[in-house]
Amino acid sequence: MDFTPNPADEAFRQEVRSFLQANLPADIARHGKRDSHSARADIERVMKMLNSRGWSAPHWPKENGGTDWSPRQKFIYLEEMRRARVPVLDRTAIDLVGPVICHFANDAQKQHFLPQILNGDCFWGQGFSEPNSGSDLASLTTSARREGDHYIVNGQKIWTSEAQRADWIFALVRTDPAAKPQRGISFLLIDLRSPGVEVRPIWSIDEVLTLNETFFDNVKVPVENLVGEENMGWTYAKKLLQFERTSSAEIPHIKRDVIQLKHLAATTMRRGRPLAEYPPFAKRIAELEIKVMALEWSVLRVLHAEEGDPSLNAVASVLKVRGSELFSDVSDLAAMAMGAHGTAVIPDTEGPHNMRPELDAPPVTDPEAVGAPQRAMFRKAATIYGGANEVQRNIIAKGVLGL
């Protein structure tokens, strides 16, 4: 054990911070405050800004347009991105399908897709879940039947996050109905403008649109859009989840949220004093911050581990469960910190949004407060998506504890 900080890390942090201070457009930073679902136009501009520096996807292999930063540096980069309130980018492209293409796709696919992603020219939706395959993903039934140079895709995906703004979708599809559930699955890239594709919105309880159903009705997909080998899709999907073992902890995002929560508590008045000076509420913040510290250091343990160190299964498994809980809790406290207006719908009226016809919002003047109550509602999904926490506990019990 040696916890002496590396001075190079601090210098790197300053480099990222300075870059963002110099380059992040003010209107985008203002939208980022709201931390509602980012607008495609904003993301496109940010991606071009990052791409000019080679920072679009630092965790990709360097030869694919990533970086050779240390794990710690990649984490610092994410912390600074969130701290500066850079809008959440196209995570489906950068964190999910991008790494799969980097590792498993052929050269033609890499050359076609990766530069578009890095430059923010191609947006992606994700096609894991189906109506009858939620936590039990391997039971999926969307089929891809080979016909000459094409697959004919039929079926339905649900919770296809951000498909409403995407150009392409990656989908797990069943190519061998006779094989065991995990064996007959392939990883297909599908152009959402293909005939037979329909994307329908699912409004979530925050009245914002990020979730969709995507229907495939005899959609023709060229075989060159198959990633890797047929029927190996389950393996790629599992690998995909390991590329970024620490992202589910959401530490950079939670730390950003804690800053905003403290701002709201420091500026909201309660009986003549800032709410921050009211001990029961200050205590809630402190208890949250302590939990965030524990989780952050769990992330650092994983980042500093050697590849394949078995002692890390235990700590890695913790990240999603506790991270999603804190991601939800911090948003609750932010809404509570707003007092009476913390229960109001406060739509993001400047930036683009999918809010439905709406009465005027309450007279909230602090831009840090905009969107906070809806965010608290939406974050209830954090303990569900990416493998519900109940499934995560099954995995811990069997995989780590051997029960």
């Binding site: 879940s129 009858n132 939620g134 936590s135 039990d136 039971s139 649900i158 919770w159 699912i202 409004w203 979530s204 309880i205 925050d206 009245e207 979730l211 008045m269 309660r270 009986r271 003549g272 009211y278 029961p280 509420f281 509570m336 007092g339 009476a340 207006h341 913390g342 229960t343 109001a344 719908v345 439905r356 016809p357 709406e358 009465l359 005027d360 919002a361 309450p362 007279p363 109550p373 809806q374 608290a376 509602m377 939406f378 209830k380 999904a381 303990t383 569900i384 998506y385 519900a388 926490n389 109940e390 506990r393």
Partner: protein, 386 residues
């Protein structure tokens, strides 16, 4: 002590349940939520006919003999159907404040009008920095030209968009949190100088912030009389909020139970997973304890003021916490589908979230409870035993 419904109470509960089944199915309710008014004036007229607005008042007070038990029965039902109509604003907060005024002809008239339901009334009392403290009144009242004029601001007034009349608290004297020196005024919804900033809460209920700039008001009570009326309104409002949270969490629990019995994952229905069974058991425990907590609050409402304050504060703390736990887990156990606007279950959570915040949140009420709950050495009669 009797926990069963009387005949009248059974009839009231039946009328609410019947309305929910026949006239307030989920589709109708969703449409109302998107309508400009945010509720149905036709339903409002029905409620008046059914006598619901007077269900929480004794006959001597001008109601139909219900008392807080009647209010609780109504609001538990409202919680189950996620009613949008501003009944709490009108028939609890405003009407109970009126009923708490010193007896005179004006009060009798106003109570009678409110029991009839027209116009909708709202109690404009909360201010931005008050956070549930009843005596926090910064809006000032002064006399000018033979009339009372009110200046200040009110926040998140339930029913504030629908109301034709407001009961407004304003300070005649004293500092901003003095228990003395408060006045209660009747203000017309169209009065000059009154600006409403309407908005919607996450539970689809419409509210308004009010700005008052020399608005004319009729003084109904002042000093201890006004405070008593406001306290009464708050107490009945808390009881109604608790009952509504109970109804919402109970409905969320049983809808989740039905879902678990049908939803298949990993080759079997979800009800077969013991971890989910135990979560459901914990949810049921919270629902039943909340029901008990509501009963103790109702029982205390006939008792001395200190006990009433304490009992209502305890109920608001416990039922808010339980309600959040139960309805949040109802979403969780539904999985993704629970997060959709289309399904009812997420809306139970949102309604409980709002009710937990209204009329003082759990932090405020824990403080109130502690103020009424001394920590003392063993009582002398016990100590004397040995």
């Amino acid at each position: 002590m009797d926990f069963n419904h009387t005949e009248e109470q059974t009839a009231l509960a039946d009328s609410v349940a019947r309305f929910g089944e026949r006239d307030y199915d989920w589709d109708s309710r969703r449409k109302l939520a998107r309508s400009p008014e945010g509720y149905s004036p036709a339903n409002w007229a029905t409620f008046a006919e059914l006598g619901w607005f007077g269900a929480g008042l004794s006959e001597e007070e001008g109601g139909f003999g219900g008392g807080p038990e009647g209010t609780a029965i109504l609001f538990e039902g409202f919680g189950r159907m996620l009613l949008l109509e501003p009944v709490m604003a009108h028939a609890v907060l405003a009407l109970q404040a009126l009923a708490g005024l010193p007896g005179n002809e004006r009060r009798t008239d106003l109570v009678e009008q409110a029991v009839m339901g027209d116009p909708v009334m709202a109690l404009a009392h909360d201010e931005a920095e008050g956070w549930g403290l009843v005596s926090w009144v910064g809006t000032r009242a002064g006399q000018a030209g033979g009339a009372w004029r009110l200046t200040g601001g009110k926040i998140r007034v339930p029913g504030g968009q629908a109301a034709g009349q407001f009961l407004v608290s304003a300070r005649l004297s004293g500092s901003i949190d003095d228990t003395d020196g408060i006045g209660l005024f009747l203000v017309d919804g169209e009065a000059a100088g009154l600006t409403r900033k309407g908005y919607r809460m996450v539970d689809n209920h419409l509210v308004a912030d009010l700005a008052l700039d020399g608005v004319e008001g009729e003084l109904l009570a002042q000093g201890p009389d006004a405070l008593a009326a406001l306290t009464r309104a708050t107490h009945h409002g808390i009881a109604a909020a608790c009952a509504e949270m109970l109804g919402a969490m109970d409905a969320a629990l049983w809808q989740t139970r039905d879902y678990l019995l049908t939803r298949k994952q990993f080759g079997t229905t979800l009800n077969n997973f013991q971890a989910l069974q135990h979560r459901m058991a914990d949810m049921l425990i919270e629902v039943e304890l909340s029901r008990s907590m509501l009963f103790q609050a109702l029982a205390a409402m006939a008792g001395p003021e200190g006990e009433r304050d304490r009992a209502l504060a305890a109920a608001k703390v416990a039922i808010s916490n339980s309600g959040i736990f139960v309805t949040r887990n109802a979403i969780q156990l539904h999985g993704g589908i629970g997060m959709t606007e289309e399904l009812m279950v997420g809306h139970f959570y949102k309604r409980v979230w709002v009710l937990a915040s209204l009329l003082g949140n759990a932090d405020h009420h824990l403080d109130q409870f502690m103020d009424h709950t001394p920590i003392e050495p063993v009582p002398a009669d016990i100590a004397a035993l040995g």
